[in-house]
């Protein structure tokens, strides 16, 4: 077996892929041929370093996922108008505020409050001044009647 043949066997396939027959013939030849022995030795070392290279495992840094997600966000299309982007970021706040305002408005109109602005004539109303000064004791009987029954008084006038 000549040298070139051994070298062809070594270069043709990975050492791990060589058949038993091929390996036996290589070893037999290597024992008798120092030049091929060097080539074989180099091939064995190369195979070892190659396997060591592939066996190296690299642990990702703790921020790996964050970095990848940030890069994905950067890559996403950013051609939306500024107002639309503003709306997207603030829409939940704005809609919740609008909802709260509407609820308050409904509550103000629907829930009954104290009666204000009744249709009593101005003459029958007691003024704050008259109450404070205690004028109510001096009201005449007719005045009291006209206050209680304003329609009767109106009918009399007619």
């Amino acid at each position: 077996m000549n040298n070139s043949h051994i070298i062809d066997i070594l270069d043709n396939a990975a050492l791990a892929e060589l058949t038993e027959t091929q390996l036996a013939s290589v070893r037999n030849h290597v024992d008798a041929c120092p030049s091929c022995a060097e080539s074989y030795h180099a091939a064995v070392l190369t195979s070892q370093v190659m396997h060591a290279r592939v066996a190296v495992q690299v642990e990702p840094s703790p921020f790996f996922a964050t970095t990848v997600l940030a890069r994905i966000r950067e890559q996403q299309p950013d051609n939306l108008p500024a107002m639309l982007r503003l709306w997207r970021s603030a829409r939940y706040l704005v809609s919740s505020m609008a909802l709260a305002t509407a609820a308050l408005a409904v509550l103000s109109f629907v829930v009954p409050g104290p009666a204000v602005g009744s249709s009593e004539p101005a003459t029958t109303a007691y003024s704050a001044e008259s109450v404070i000064l205690g004028d109510e004791d001096e009201l005449s009987y007719e005045q009291v009647l006209s206050t209680i029954y304003p329609e009767v008084e109106e009918a009399k006038e007619k």
Partner: protein
Amino acid sequence: MVEEAAQEVFLKAFTQLASYEGRGSMEGWLTKIATNTCLNMVRGAKRRPEQTAADLTENENEWLDEKLSSVANAQHRSAERDLIAADLADRVLGVLSPEDRLALTMIDGDDATIKEVAEVTGWSESKVKVRAFRARRKVREAMEKLIGVKKQQEVDLRTAGD
């Protein structure tokens, strides 16, 4: 560089997810993306000139010494020694083109078949075979040269000592 490549692969997988038609396996699709990404990154990196023993680090020299003097045995194997061997592999693989390097790493390192490499890279099987053959020869010759220089250095040292 490995983490950079992994980031790139995840990013591409996310942005190209719509292009996955579900014909092959998801793993195969991801492997293709990873292979192309790594190949492009290696292409972008500067190729190393052929290494000599003088370029090796102290650890790499020591590792080669151990191997050459046949002292290496099971007790010398450790994670650290494997890392040194991996660095040495990078140095030797630096003489190859990115494509040859990919073929050799997958076949000789990862024990992938010619067919698997062809599927992942999109090259024909004969092209993969040629690349692997050429790469194996170049790397073996580079290693032989390193061993030769190391041996010569030892001889020189012994002569100087005498």
